[in-house]
């Protein structure tokens, strides 16, 4: 049973436009969410996180939105750049848990076309 789902395996966007990556979760105990980015032949790198007490968190071109009632979060990249082309993983855990309980989605491959 997948607790964290990224239903779009891939997404293609034109440079300068907005990229929206989606993630759904089923476990209502999750209250801390993260996005990681992974380039080929490299390990994932932490991008941005959000706590369930917020519905939005911004860091430069990256914004994560959380809709707790829908158990849905999204990552917005504005404007998208070719260097953003990578696989993006959504992950979730609970404050009552630990980093040792981090659950990842399968990832969405983003391609930003020049």
């Amino acid at each position: 049973d997948q607790q964290v789902k990224q239903n779009s395996p891939s997404l293609s966007v034109q440079e300068g436009r907005i990229s929206i990556l989606n993630c759904d979760y089923t476990n209502s105990m999750f209250d801390y969410f993260l996005w990681y980015k992974k380039y080929p032949a490299e390990g994932p790198t932490f991008l941005i996180s959000i706590s369930s007490i917020k519905d939005k968190n911004e860091d430069g071109r990256f914004t994560v939105f959380l809709n707790k009632s829908a158990k849905h979060l999204s990552l917005h990249i504005v404007p998208s750049q070719p260097g953003d082309s990578a696989v993006y993983f959504c992950a979730a855990t609970s404050y009552g848990g630990s980093q040792g309980n981090l659950i990842f989605g399968k990832g969405t491959k983003l391609s930003v076309k020049p």
């Binding site: 032949a41 630990s98 980093q99």
Partner: protein
């Protein structure tokens, strides 16, 4: 500051053999995590070590085991290799894995191929 390092980069084994993968965490990090990324399956949590102890284990058979050494480096052992063990094995480290808001830093991974 050096990041998380893993060795070897690639490993080719035959079915039934044993594989040993190694990980060195970022200096000062006491928690080490192991993940398996098989084709199309995302990152599957394998093991979490903290202060030399195994703290949590994912849904994998006992032939997947490991340990953490006093210098916080870690080893993942896979016994009786099966074809479906072919995957990218990622190691990550963090300062304090007991905190849910801690950040994991990943190494580049070891690509294990079982023939």
């Amino acid at each position: 500051e050096a990041g998380v390092t893993q060795s070897p980069t690639h490993l080719i084994k035959t079915r039934g053999q044993q594989a040993t993968l190694r990980c060195s965490p970022i200096s000062g990090h006491t928690s080490v995590y192991w993940y398996q990324q098989a084709l199309g399956l995302g990152l599957q949590f394998l093991l979490w070590y903290d202060e030399g102890e195994e703290r949590n284990r994912g849904n994998f058979p006992p032939r997947f085991s490991g340990r953490q050494f006093p210098n916080y480096s870690s080893e993942l052992n896979v016994n009786a290799l099966e074809l479906e063990d072919s995957a990218l094995y990622l190691c990550a480290s963090s300062l304090d894995g007991q905190r849910a808001t801690d950040t994991q830093y990943f190494g580049p991974g070891t690509r294990l191929t079982v023939l």
